[in-house]
């Protein structure tokens, strides 16, 4: 047998254990430790254990949790992303109280639980020699063990004698573990290799899964409706088109093709629309949509697009164009001129005439005389 880790003395009940503790403690043979199936009251004082510092730790972490929650909520709600809710000031803190409480409890609980386990009790730890002793079956059941652990120059025989004198029913010598209490380098290496292997395998499986199964869009039913989208084919009609062509010769309302084929034809036409505010407003709207890009908002041929557009649009304010009859301007809209295409498809009949009225108004406004004033 190698070196002794501890000598264990087995007792039958809590009273016998409590009676033995001061006797063995007085002998000063080594570090004393007791193992019991349930907390035995007064045992910690008898063994001379210090009070658990857990209360203070929990208190500090609880306060820290509440403060963290307060500052975080304040920062997100009042500084980083100020959001007015219910007409309250961005800095109103009262609404933060419930989450402050929850986070406080969360911090405090994890400190109490994990602090107890990891920091104070140093668990999980599977390498303690007592776990491999014969006595452990009794310890977690109904037996009480007083253990004298080796410390400095340790005499197992003296420890056994002291425990027997204190009334121990059975004695067990616990050999020191062959390896250190911590994980061996070998074990750490193996577990690291295992983790790396597991990562590799799961990564490959994930890759395979993504490759094998196409991504299934969940709940696509709102996008995927039994409806025919524009310009899409349909087997319903013989020609396979989803959108049917209008009957040959159909003319949309207001889109009767003009009965003109040349500017000369057009010059004879007169503006059928009355000159009133509604017509001018319509003309201005249509002019701004269709004409202003090239001819300019004032009709002076200085538009926004000049730089990007090679041709030089006409200045509508020149005397030549001012001298045109209404019909010629109308004809230009319908037939186009030089680089200007026909706008017949974009402007219905009455819109064209409204634009003519508006162009006239622009020409007059830009060449205003003193007597035009009312």
């Amino acid at each position: 047998m190698s070196e002794t880790f501890a000598v264990l003395g087995l007792f039958d009940d809590a009273d016998a254990l409590m009676a033995a503790v001061p006797k063995v403690r007085a002998a000063r043979l080594g570090r004393l430790e007791a193992y019991t199936p349930y907390p035995v009251h007064g045992l910690d004082q008898a063994l001379g254990l210090r009070r658990s510092p857990l209360g203070g730790m929990v208190m500090i972490m609880g306060v820290l949790g509440a403060l963290t929650a307060l500052l975080f909520q304040y920062w997100t709600s009042a500084v980083d992303y100020p959001l007015v809710t219910g007409g309250k000031a961005a800095t109103s803190w009262q609404a933060f109280v419930p989450i402050m409480f929850e986070v406080m409890v969360l911090f405090a609980t994890f400190t109490a639980g994990l602090g107890m386990l990891l920091l104070l009790n140093r668990l999980p730890f599977f390498g303690h020699p007592v776990l491999g002793s014969k006595a452990i079956r009794g310890i977690t059941r109904d037996r009480f063990v007083l253990s004298v652990e080796a410390e400095g120059s340790f005499d197992p025989a003296a420890a056994q004698a002291a425990l027997e004198a204190a009334g121990a029913l059975e004695i067990e010598h616990l050999p020191a573990p062959a390896h250190g209490p911590l994980f061996t380098a070998d074990a750490i290496q193996r577990s690291l290799l295992g983790i790396a292997g597991a990562c590799l395998v799961s990564g490959l499986m994930m890759y395979g899964a993504v490759k094998l199964f196409p991504v299934l869009p969940p709940m696509s039913h709102m996008e995927d409706q039994p409806r025919l989208d524009p310009q899409k084919p349909s087997a319903f009609f013989k020609d396979g088109r989803g959108m049917q062509m209008p009957v040959a010769g159909t003319v949309a309302r207001g889109c009767l093709p003009p009965d003109i084929s040349s500017p000369e034809d057009a010059a004879r036409l007169a503006n059928p629309l009355p000159l009133d505010a509604a017509v001018l407003a319509r003309g201005r709207t249509e002019y701004r949509i269709h004409c202003a890009q090239c001819h300019g908002a004032l009709g002076d041929g200085v538009p926004t697009l000049t730089a990007a557009y090679g041709a030089k649009p006409a200045n509508l304010l020149t005397p030549a164009i001012r001298a045109y009859p209404d019909g010629t301007i109308y004809g230009t809209i319908v037939l186009g001129k030089n680089a200007m295409p026909s706008y017949a498809a974009d402007l219905p009949e009455d819109a064209r005439w409204a634009v003519v009225h508006y162009v006239r108004a622009l020409q007059r406004a830009q060449n205003a005389k003193a007597e035009d004033l009312p």
Partner: protein
């Protein structure tokens, strides 16, 4: 050691009726306790258990399938629609969170008050808490419609530069329920640790031994460990006490901070907490009756335990009656015609039957428990417990559906009709819950043996006397 000898002499002088009732029947020693409670994982489950598990897991599978169907088709397969946007999803959520309150109440509040009878039932009640909160957690997630982005509920830095709205009770709810689950789990697991160590040292099975070894984290029962452990348990109990009162209060804020008639009431937080404890105790009572019979634990979960549980249920039932009365009074006293209408709706409208059912199940039937005979008889106790479970589900139905289906805008009024999918998912959640309970009963100790051992007569050293 002889238990009688360790009792203080004064206790023997007290007349029988004044003495604290025995918490165990017959002779119970730490060893016999382990042999009785911890033997189940090593035993083959009886046929009845398999049949029960088959039924519950079938229900659970049905629920899962319907949840999958909901994901596939969209939330439109449920009955909720304008104006009742909160249908079964939220009813079931509130119901299950409520069920989850008994466990922590028993383990934390009764621990703080040193009610020693809690020891025998705390572990099971805590486990039921965990399972109930798990069931509850399903519903908000599937109710949000797109559960795969439900992590948006949490504040985390994101490329959209957005944060959650911390002034919204729904966000408080996310924090409250997730904290409650974490804390309950921690409380339950820490309490379980020494029992897991007992299980570890009892078995030589090649499968169970490594599992229990891993789960017990190398617990060895050292005095120093016990000292920190007891302190941690006390602290956790204190923290959980505040938490158990806060969680359902926060759930009630979801309702109370809105302006829906019937929801905008200051009594909601205490009213919800009482309802939660009420429903939770009923569920625990129901399951405990089955467990003590099926697992032959009558000497540990005694008639006294059940009677105390019944008394708690009775007390909570009276408080529920009071809360209903205060609600009605508030409605009347408010002189608000909309509120009057809503409250009359609870008992006379389309769903008037639900209001009457709620009151009959929650206030009327539990009054049977005034009679000792009913507190000692299984049929009566089970009748009351089932009634309370039904009544508390319908209470949430009344609060949510009846209030929403007719509020300020009469042109939006609409009757809510649940679909088969709604019913199926509700049944499925019961299946999930009871499947977990059945599995728990076979693989983990159903009674906190360590806590019970520490409180057996004669278990503590005689010099300090017992600490009743």
């Amino acid at each position: 050691m002889n238990p009688e000898a360790s009792m203080p002499a004064a206790a023997n002088v007290l007349p029988e009726a004044l003495r604290a009732p025995a918490l165990t029947v017959g002779k119970v020693t730490p060893g016999s306790l382990d042999d009785q409670v911890l033997r189940f994982p090593a035993l083959a489950p009886p046929r009845k258990w398999y049949i029960a598990l088959a039924c519950t897991s079938l229900l659970a599978a049905l629920g899962m399938a319907l949840i999958g169907y909901t994901f596939y088709m969209g939330i439109g397969v449920w009955g909720n629609n304008s104006p009742v946007f909160w249908g079964f999803g939220i009813i079931n959520f509130v119901f299950w969170v409520g069920i989850g309150h008994a466990g922590t109440l028993i383990s934390a509040i009764l621990f703080i008050f040193r009610k020693r009878w809690r020891n025998a039932i705390a572990r099971f009640a805590e486990a039921m808490t965990i399972f109930a909160v798990m069931c509850a957690g399903i519903f908000p997630l599937i109710h949000v419609g797109r559960p795969w982005v439900s992590f948006w509920l949490f504040p985390y830095p994101n490329q959209r530069g957005l944060w959650v709205n911390f002034r919204s009770p729904l966000v408080w709810d996310v924090f409250a329920v997730s904290t409650y689950f974490s804390v309950s789990l921690m409380f339950w697991y820490l309490g379980l640790l020494p029992d897991l160590a007992s299980l570890r040292d009892r078995t030589d099975s090649r499968i169970r031994k490594p599992i229990y070894t891993l789960l017990s984290l190398g617990w060895r029962g050292s005095a120093g460990h016990w000292q920190h452990f007891e302190k941690a348990y006390l602290l956790l109990a204190g923290l959980a006490t505040g938490l158990v009162l806060s969680v359902h209060s926060v759930v009630s804020f979801d309702f109370a901070t809105s302006i829906v008639p019937g929801w905008h009431m200051t009594i909601f937080p205490p009213y919800f907490v009482v309802g939660a404890i009420f429903a939770g105790f009923a569920m625990v009572l129901m399951v405990l009756i089955v467990v003590r019979e099926a697992m032959d634990l009558k000497n540990l979960i005694t008639d006294f335990h059940l009677e105390v549980m019944c008394k708690v249920i009775l007390g909570m039932s009276c408080l529920m009656g009071y809360a209903y009365a205060v609600e009605a009074f508030t409605a009347w006293y408010s002189m608000n015609p909309v509120l009057h209408h809503t409250f009359l709706n609870y008992v006379t409208g389309t769903y008037g039957w639900a209001g009457w059912l709620t009151m009959a199940c929650n206030v009327l039937l539990p009054q049977l428990l005034w009679f000792r005979k009913c507190r000692r008889s299984y049929p009566w106790m089970i009748l009351v417990a089932v009634a309370v479970t039904i009544g508390m589900w319908f209470e949430r139905f009344v609060i949510i559906v009846v209030s929403l289906h007719q509020d300020y805008l009469p042109s939006a009024w609409h009757v809510f009709k649940p679909t088969l999918v709604d019913y199926g998912i509700l049944l499925g959640s019961f299946g999930i819950f009871f499947s977990l309970v059945l599995l728990f009963a076979r693989v983990l100790p159903v009674i906190a043996t360590t806590e019970l051992k520490a409180d057996l007569p004669g278990s503590q050293p005689a010099h300090g006397g017992s600490h009743e």
